[in-house]
């Protein structure tokens, strides 16, 4: 009996992205994935209308905003866009599906045949931005459909009930289903791809990508190829893990199946075949997958074209408009920051990680140039101030946020405006502001009510600007020498190292306003004549 010699993992990914349209896919009820939607404020079953409820006589009307967003994602993933795309009904009974059919796209998806290069993570699961390989991931299709509602098995507040209740707020929200080829060979790759996709969606403005809110859900199709000691290859039957809503769960489910499938095959000897596919769920506590449906009985969804909807025709005009509306994507920005601004890979990666931070960064660059900062230096200078003064404060605020809140405060949310950042950098470049004063000024401008403040005026008012006054410099130096007689003697005696103490004293006495570059010169002149 041949033993297992090696096991190779094979994963394809299905991703559901809730598109952040204002209204639902086929009606005017507000969508829960919309940026402005407040989950805490909305009662269950409040975002509904006759169509969401599946009331008789209601009719679907296409939301073109959703089609537009889906096309943007498709284009970003290198897909072709179908010039004519149709809507089909997928029929099954479930209490969260009000019409007992889901409007979806069966044989004519909006986006198809795409591919995207992803940076491969290293051994530690992270991409080494200084040196990485890429892998091309094929996209089979990306189609639009409507979301289902939510079935709840306990009453609000966690009260036990012996029946189920339905919340249809999510029902009918536009959902983009993206299906990749089974091109992934490690869990790290899948997670890296998922993160990249989330970032792309955020940059496109089609989703906030908050996984806890269900903005994106992942369903990996996992199997393994086992090489036996006698050289024979065995493909284990495919397991689809449903509805994963965190990267941790995606990684966990894939790693679990990678380890488990060879054992399962040894026990049950079931190989991949049509109909051998099973569906499993993920238990976040036990960190295990759990069987939901054995052997996918070739589920008969009785797809047929929805007679209530006309096909969507994407003409050249619309397609080109959409293409033109796509902002530069994070990977391209990362490359630009490194090549054009001279940023370190790590710095660039930190700036493209969040769409809002990235857009803020670029606004600050524009403002800095406007304020007179030399064009070639602005990118690097803004990166420095945001990743130092900005990141420090964002981290402090995140840590200080009320306990239990996982909200990360972003550099772009601190309150300081791009124009103010630009002014700070211009003052720095003109030699009017010391580095400590710059950081302090940055902090002041992050405080509430400072959005309209002129940074230059504030620095002036607070006496933060460097003083170019020989008399004042003379006074500060004299006082510093008087306070540090020993150090002054040492400097006189030619010990250069001792001058630091005196410089520090001058800076302190001046409240940071002394021109740091001139202090040393002034002291030496005084002490050594």
């Amino acid at each position: 009996m041949a033993e297992i010699a090696s096991v190779q993992l094979k994963v394809g990914l299905e991703i559901h992205v809730q598109l952040a349209t204002r209204t639902k896919m086929f009606c005017r009820a507000p969508s829960v994935a919309c940026r402005e939607f407040d989950h805490k404020q909305s009662e269950p079953n409040s975002c509904i209308d006759p169509l969401v409820l599946g009331l008789p006589g209601s009719l679907p009307v296409i939301n073109r905003e959703a089609v537009q967003m889906a096309m943007m994602v498709g284009l970003a993933l290198g897909c072709s866009i179908a010039p004519l795309t149709r809507w089909d009904r997928k029929s099954y009974f479930y209490p969260d599906l009000p019409k007992s059919y889901q409007i979806s796209q069966y044989d004519l998806p909006l986006c198809f045949d795409g591919a995207i290069d992803m940076p491969l993570p290293g051994e530690d699961g992270r991409v080494n931005w200084d040196d990485y390989d890429t892998k091309r991931i094929g996209i089979i299709r990306a189609h639009l459909e409507e979301d289902a509602g939510k079935l709840l098995h306990e009453a609000p507040g966690g009260l036990p009930i012996d029946y189920s209740i339905v919340d249809l707020n999510r029902a009918g929200c536009p959902l983009l289903e993206i299906v990749t080829h089974p091109d992934f060979t490690t869990a790290d790759e899948v997670v890296a791809f998922a993160q990249m996709l989330r970032n792309i969606c955020r940059f496109l403005g089609v989703s906030e990508g908050v996984l806890q809110k269900g903005h994106m859900r992942f369903e990996p199709n996992i199997n393994t190829v086992i090489t036996l000691t006698d050289g024979r290859l065995v493909k284990t039957s495919i397991v689809e893990v449903k509805n994963l809503n965190s990267f941790k769960a995606v990684r966990g489910a894939i790693e679990y199946e990678f380890a488990e499938q060879p054992k399962r095959w040894q026990r049950e000897k079931v190989e991949m075949s049509p109909g051998s596919k099973s569906t499993r769920g993920w238990d976040d506590v036990k960190m295990q997958t759990v069987l939901q449906r054995e052997k996918e009985e070739a589920a008969d969804y009785r797809y047929f074209p929805d007679p209530d909807l006309l096909p969507v025709v994407v003409d050249k005009n619309w397609l080109e408009q959409t293409r033109a509306s796509i902002p530069q994507l994070p990977m391209a920005r990362l490359k630009r920051y490194i090549d054009d601004f001279g940023l370190h890979a790590k710095e660039a990666a930190a700036l493209v990680d969040e769409r809002d931070v990235c857009f803020f960064y670029e606004e600050c660059i524009a403002a800095a140039k406007q304020a007179g900062v030399e064009s070639g230096k602005a990118g690097k200078a803004v990166a420095n101030v945001l990743l130092q003064s900005g990141a420090k404060r964002a981290n402090e605020r995140s840590a200080g946020a009320s306990a239990g809140s996982t909200e990360q405060v972003l550099i772009s949310d601190l309150g300081i405006m791009p124009k103010q950042v630009g002014q700070i950098l211009a003052m720095r470049e003109r030699g009017e502001l010391g580095s400590n004063a710059a950081d302090e000024l940055f902090g002041l401008l992050c405080e509430p009510g400072q959005a309209a403040t002129d940074a230059q005026a504030l620095a002036q008012q607070r006496g933060m600007l460097i003083v170019r006054d020989d008399a004042a410099m003379g006074r500060w130096c004299d006082e510093a020498i008087a306070q540090n007689a020993k150090a002054a003697e040492d400097v006189k005696a030619g010990k250069d190292a001792a001058i630091g103490r005196l410089v520090g004293a001058v800076m302190k006495l001046s409240g940071g306003r002394a021109d740091a570059a001139g202090v040393r010169e002034a002291l030496i002149k005084k002490l050594r004549g």
């Binding site: 009331l55 008789p56 006589g57 209601s58 009307v61 296409i62 009974f93 009000p98 007992s100 209530d308």
Partner: protein
């Protein structure tokens, strides 16, 4: 005893109401009274809405009193089929599953009636979910033909047709998926129009077969038919299949069509026609010839396949459209015994809620959409549908203004005579389904009478003739019908009820 005729023609009533010779309230009262008086006899209504109707009528009267402009149907009592949503009362589709369902919104076509000053007297009976050709498949019992109470009025718009034929209202709304306006109109001796697909919004119409369903008017005169159509048609943003094109229904209504050419399909002179229907068709042809029309023989080679294609496409869509009646959110929910699960909830609610004809069509439709059968049935039926449309297009290319044929092969049959034979019932639609499959307008007009004797009982029953036009050809159809009405008296005869 009121001397007000609630069924008086629309234009007369509107004129009298605006001239304050009669009040809208008196019109409403008269219609409600007559509906009430005939309810036991005809069973034309599911519900009457005396309070809301009187309120609507008083609102019209108040506007007139203030000298404000009123709509085209000011003070005109109308009835609507109970598959159209109305924000008050029930919308039952004459099904147990919706017996207590109340729609929270009003269908576009109905709202247009209300906005035009019409008074909604009540909701009319129908074959359950508009599936049937006799009015017998209703959970509220059969509707009767005002010409002979032992006979069916046809269906599925049975109550809307009976109410107009009996002079309760001058006009009503029906819906026509395979003939449900035109066939009963013929059997009850009135006018009925199925507009071009998309001309009237389906928003709020409980869907039977979405690609075939159209709302249309039933009336006793051509003018009323045109007046009703003018009010209810028009683009609706809430219906994606709603047409943006415009039809001027009233234009030159009484000007004869110049150089009128009518096509008569070879297949319409079928041996399946009863002698009276055959005679009415030939008499109709003669009348048009006398009017100077050119009559040409045409061929609709696929008309016989229409029934087969229709009974695949319509049930397929119906099985999907009716899947939402699952007992979860609204409508009938079965009581479950201990240990019974979700599947039992679905099965019991739907088995209790749907009548046998509806269940038959749901099963048929589910079958033809199933994997393995989809291509053989559904896709083939779609191909036949295209061939049928091509047949009609070819006929119109030959220069026909319209096609003339019977609205059904026989006059009204006796209650119960076809209920045990679904296929015989389906053949009632042989002349009508093709028009829905092709999306064309079809108009039924009173075309004669046939003397029949059943079980020793003699009766004289109306026979309907149908005019089919090219897409958006409603105005021409109406003008041809007006020409015919000027030369015949069939439309002036009234049942003795």
């Amino acid at each position: 005893m009121s001397t007000i005729d609630p069924g008086a023609p629309i234009l007369d009533t509107r004129e009298r109401v605006t001239a304050r010779k009669v009040s809208a309230a008196e019109m409403a009262r008269a219609a409600l009274d007559r509906a009430q008086a005939l309810q036991k006899t005809l069973n034309a209504f599911v519900d009457l809405f005396p309070d809301q109707a009187m309120e609507q009528a008083r609102a019209v009267d108040a506007r007139i009193a203030r000298g404000e402009p009123v709509g085209a149907l000011a003070g005109v009592p109308v009835a609507i089929k109970d598959n159209m949503s109305l924000a008050y009362g029930r919308t039952t589709c004459c099904s147990r599953i919706l017996e207590n369902y109340r729609a929270p919104y009003t269908a576009t076509a109905v709202q247009k009636l209300i906005d035009a000053g019409a008074i909604i007297v009540g909701k009319t009976t129908m074959d359950e979910f508009a599936m049937g050709s006799s009015g017998e498949h209703s959970c509220f019992g059969p509707t009767r033909n005002p010409w002979d109470l032992s006979r069916v009025p046809g269906g599925s718009s049975s109550g809307s047709t009976a109410a107009v034929a009996a002079g309760i209202v001058p006009a009503s709304l029906g819906s026509d998926t395979g003939g449900s306006i035109r066939q009963p109109a013929g059997l009850c001796g009135i006018y009925g129009l199925k507009p071009t697909y998309g001309l009237v919004s389906r928003y709020g119409l409980v869907a039977f077969a979405s690609s075939l369903d159209q709302i249309g008017p039933l009336t006793r005169t051509v003018d009323d038919l045109a007046a009703m159509l003018s009010v209810i048609m028009g683009h609706d943003d809430m219906d994606s299949t709603s047409a943006t094109a415009h039809v001027d229904a009233m234009r030159d209504l009484h000007t004869p069509v110049d150089g009128l050419t009518l096509g008569v399909p070879r297949q319409a002179r079928s041996t399946a026609n009863t002698p009276g229907v055959a005679a009415a068709l030939e008499a109709g042809i003669k009348t048009f010839r006398d009017l100077g029309a050119r009559i040409i023989d045409i061929d609709l080679p696929h008309i016989d396949h229409g029934i087969a294609a229709y009974y695949i496409i319509a049930p397929a869509e119906a099985s999907s459209n009716l899947a939402r009646f699952d007992g979860v959110r609204y409508g009938r929910r079965a009581q479950l015994g201990p240990g019974e699960d979700l599947m039992a909830l679905y099965c019991k609610s739907r088995s209790e809620g749907f009548g046998p004809e509806v269940q038959r069509r749901i099963m048929l439709g589910t079958h033809v959409l199933s994997s393995g059968y989809f291509d053989a049935y559904y896709l083939t039926a779609l191909k036949v549908r295209r061939l049928i449309k091509n047949d009609y297009d070819a006929a119109f290319k030959q220069g026909c203004h319209a096609i003339l044929m019977p609205s059904s092969p026989s006059p009204a049959f006796t209650l119960g005579s076809k209920t045990s034979d679904p296929l015989a019932m389906y053949l009632e639609d042989v002349y009508t389904v093709g028009v829905n499959l092709a999306g064309l307008p079809g108009l039924t007009m009173p075309g004669g009478f046939e003397k029949v004797t059943d079980n020793g009982r003699a009766a004289e029953l109306p026979v309907g003739l149908q005019l089919v036009g090219p897409a958006l050809g409603e105005n021409t159809l109406l003008r041809i019908a007006a020409m015919f009405a000027d030369r015949t008296t069939w439309h002036t005869r009234r049942p003795a009820i």
